[in-house]
């Protein structure tokens, strides 16, 4: 018992001293579980997030836009891989992680359950959705679990390309024809609120937040992160002449922050619980892609087995 207390003490000391927890270190079961939940959810978000963008790949308006989008989507696949392997350092297998997604036990960012209806959505996703993700990920570079923090540093380096290409693409539409500008505004109208929801429930209502903050898995609260996102995005919209679809949005001189309207939490819950516009489609497509790849995995395994079999005998 004294020994167990020593372990807890050593763990707490590391957290307190801003030292990273590494895979082989002792850690409380709850810390491990909490991390597996958050990191696998993060990994799934990177992977599922490719679907709304992939939807426009073959219809990109120019070859350059197509190449850029392809590169961005490839990055997202890479982000998923960084995060899956970082999650595996906690003692769970890739198969179990993917199975949890397919069973519906593991979630992913609910924003990807919204459809990408027009080309303007693609720029808007880069600008707004990646923009919101960046705010969250920059804070997570200081998360207490070493492999997660290092994956975040790597991911953040690539994210600013994602946001800039999106913003530039929206800006081009916003200064184009009236029709193009209307398309950009419409995309912003549809993605703005779901983007605010990406930061999760209010701090007071967030199930995992308090403990995650104590363990320094999370470094900033949902509401803090959401506020930074609003503060940085409103001027970006103004500069390209688009309007944030929130009548309550206004600068608060006293707080030195923007005040903004209340999120439709009912919609948030509906989408999280599987009733968004695309939940079923996203999951079905992932399962299908995974199943379609089975013969490739089997063929590679057979090839390698044959090769090593030959040299071994």
């Amino acid at each position: 018992m004294a020994e167990a207390n020593d372990l807890v003490q050593a763990f707490d000391n590391k957290i307190h001293a801003e030292e990273k927890i590494e895979p082989k270190d002792w850690m409380p079961a709850g810390y491990r579980k909490n991390l597996i939940r958050q990191m696998s959810q993060h990994a799934h978000s990177e992977v599922i997030g490719m679907q709304p963008e992939g939807n426009w790949l073959t219809r990109a308006p120019t070859l350059e836009r197509k190449s850029v989008l392809l590169a961005k989507i490839q990055d997202e696949a890479g982000h998923g891989l960084y995060l899956y392997s970082a999650t595996e350092t906690l003692g769970i297998t890739r198969e179990e992680i993917v199975q949890a997604l397919h069973d519906g036990h593991a979630k992913y960012a609910s924003i990807f359950n919204y459809p990408s209806l027009t080309w303007a959505d693609i720029g808007t996703i880069g600008w707004i959705v990646d923009g919101a993700a960046i705010v969250n990920q920059v804070a997570l570079q200081r998360t207490s679990y070493g492999p997660y923090a290092r994956a975040m540093v790597r991911i953040c380096k690539e994210e600013s390309f994602h946001q800039r290409q999106g913003y530039e693409s929206v800006a081009v539409l916003a200064r184009g024809s009236a029709q193009q500008k209307a398309m950009a505004q419409d995309a912003l109208n549809r993605w703005w609120w779901p983007a605010l929801m990406m930061f999760g429930p209010h701090d007071a209502d967030s199930a995992h937040s308090a403990q995650s903050m104590l363990w320094k898995i999370k470094r900033k609260s949902n509401d803090e992160l959401r506020q930074s996102f609003v503060d940085q995005t409103v001027p970006q919209a103004e500069i390209i002449g688009l309007e944030i679809p929130d009548p309550d949005l206004k600068w608060n001189e006293q707080r030195q922050h923007y005040d903004f309207g209340e999120i439709d939490w009912d919609e948030f819950k509906q989408v999280i619980n599987g009733n968004g516009l695309c939940n079923r489609e996203r999951l079905a497509q992932h399962k299908q892609a995974h199943a379609n790849g089975a013969w490739v995995r089997a063929a590679v395994a057979a090839y390698v087995k044959g090769k090593t079999g030959e040299s071994g005998e």
């Binding site: 082989k24 490839q74 890479g78 595996e88 297998t93 395994a301 390698v304």
Partner: protein, 94 residues
């Protein structure tokens, strides 16, 4: 039976003359495939000029609980550090 392939650790040399640094891990069936996957996953923007892949099971690591036997001797050998020696006034940058 798991269809999952073995785990490899990936190390990158950023530029000629630098050390290889651990960047993460990935699953592959053999070293050749691991190198290709590492290229696609970790150097999409010329982050490296050389990749090492090592099967994770081949890495032997010290345990933090062994820290005493690994590092203890250093604590009483302050004379190994340059700062242990005071220099006369007028002599600096040695």
């Amino acid at each position: 039976m798991s269809e999952l392939s073995p785990l490899f650790e990936v190390f990158l040399r950023g530029r000629r003359g630098l050390d290889h640094i651990h960047v993460g891990s990935l699953h592959a069936h053999d070293a050749g495939q691991a190198l290709e996957y590492a290229r696609d996953t970790y150097i999409r923007r010329s982050e490296g000029v050389s990749i090492w892949v090592v099967e994770s099971k081949d890495i032997h690591a010290s345990q933090e609980s062994d820290v005493a036997s690994f590092y203890d001797p250093m604590d009483d050998k302050a004379y190994r550090h340059a700062t242990h020696y005071t220099l006369p006034d007028g002599v600096d940058n040695m």
